[in-house]
């Protein structure tokens, strides 16, 4: 019921649906630029699909972090958490249903992105791989980030603080893929950061699949395990910290 309520509240208001529309406009802009810009259109098609895949995953992570990091704290700030805790479901179920509502929004965002991936990859054998790998990595990362965000939202009890904290975490996770140059990535520092960063693993795996055409799961298993391990760690943290919510307002 709580899950349904979250979804309905999100999509019956312009504010909730604005995420999806804004994301589709960004995908449209990037896909159109990639295919029509006189220099970008000369890129290898695998590179184009990879760039779009990166943007889709980055959008999903950002969306889940921002949405989930205020999901408990906003209840505390508005004084509705007490009422929520009176419902005959456990505190962990409340957190889980809220987390699933975020993952559902990611699922819609991902569904919106599929036509773009297919169009940009048309004429190659990359479309199916792009859709599958973006789906796998996006879902794992969005689930993990949502769980961490909910925990932070609960611990900090302030939407402003939890959103800022999660934005910083997301920027740190995305930095190696978006801001590190090729030479910096090849240094010991860059390699160490990329080895421990699950988002870098996901992006490097997409690069390997779409640019280097290494499409089998066996070739990507090292990257997939790293992302799964990150999701499992986030799950343990989520389970440990959502056992009991206390009814205290933020001071």
């Amino acid at each position: 019921m709580l899950y349904r309520h979250e979804i309905v509240c999100c999509f019956y208001s312009w504010r909730g649906s604005a995420w999806i529309i804004a994301a589709s406009l960004i995908f449209s802009l990037i896909a159109y630029l990639l295919l029509t810009d006189k220099e970008l259109s000369l890129l290898d098609q695998g590179e184009m699909v990879f760039t779009l895949g990166e943007v889709i995953i980055a959008m999903g992570i950002a969306m889940s972090a921002v949405s989930a990091s205020s999901i408990i704290s906003s209840e505390i700030e508005t004084g509705t958490l007490e009422s929520l805790l009176l419902t005959p479901i456990t505190h962990r179920q409340i957190a889980l249903q809220k987390m699933f509502s975020i993952v559902t929004i990611w699922a819609i965002l991902y569904s919106v992105s599929i036509p773009y991936l297919v169009v940009v990859a048309s004429g190659t054998n990359l479309a199916l791989s792009a859709v599958l790998y973006v789906g796998v990595y996006g879902t794992l990362l969005v689930t993990a980030i949502s769980m961490i965000s909910i925990v932070i939202s609960w611990r900090l009890k302030s939407s402003k603080n939890s959103i800022m904290t999660m934005l910083m975490i997301v920027l740190i996770l995305l930095a190696p893929s978006l801001f590190f140059g090729t030479s910096l990535k090849k240094t010991d520092f860059g390699l160490a950061i990329e080895n421990i960063n699950p988002v870098s693993h996901a992006m490097n795996s997409l690069d390997s699949v779409l640019v280097d055409n290494e499409q089998t799961l066996v070739q990507q298993i090292s990257h997939i395990w790293a992302v799964i391990a990150f999701t499992l760690i986030c799950t343990f943290i989520f389970i440990a910290f959502t056992r009991k919510f206390e009814v205290k307002s933020a001071e």
Partner: protein, 224 residues
Amino acid sequence: MKAVLSKWNESSVYWNYSKVNKVCMCSLALVFVLACITTSLLGTAAWGNQILPSGSESPPSIQDDIKIDMISSRTVHAIAGQFIKIEGIITKLNQSTSSNETNRGGIAYISIVDVKDRVPVDLEDWSAEKGLYIPSIESGKSLPLEWNVRLVKSGLYTITILFNKDSAPYSPPVTSSKTFLVVAPKLNLNPGNILPVAFGVPAILIGIFGTLNYMRGRKVGVYR
């Protein structure tokens, strides 16, 4: 159980619009920042005007005993994105006096110069093999040279083949005559049928969410 749930529904102010507003504004700001970062990473280049060549073709260069002839036509017209072949022939003339030099080779490479911007072109995206190592050329023999060049950007360019002899590292390279390359821009407004998707998906989403919002508004009395 039902009674408890309905009581909870009635008593709780579940969705606080002011707080949601703040969160959504933050979300949209983040989307905007992400869009700016992405588009700045992609980048675009300005269109260049094309200037047709006016100079005359210089004769093949002969330095010492090496001659390079450009086989490709003097002016090549193509469209950005196409691959062209640059072909030449390197010949070692029978003028060699030193027997040591008979089997000496060197590196043959191409140089592309942007005539409009007056700068040499970085060949990283243009050609996979910039240089060809020739271990040796016997006197009186010729070797074919060939490069596949991808035309990355529209404009006017000159292409020259150069050869650096191993035996004379400090002497200037032997050069071929120039080939003028006129690259026209590639114009395609709807490659891969992107336009229906790029405009259709946001339009459909706006329609769906607009309808949902309107139906909800009618239900609660916002729209009459």
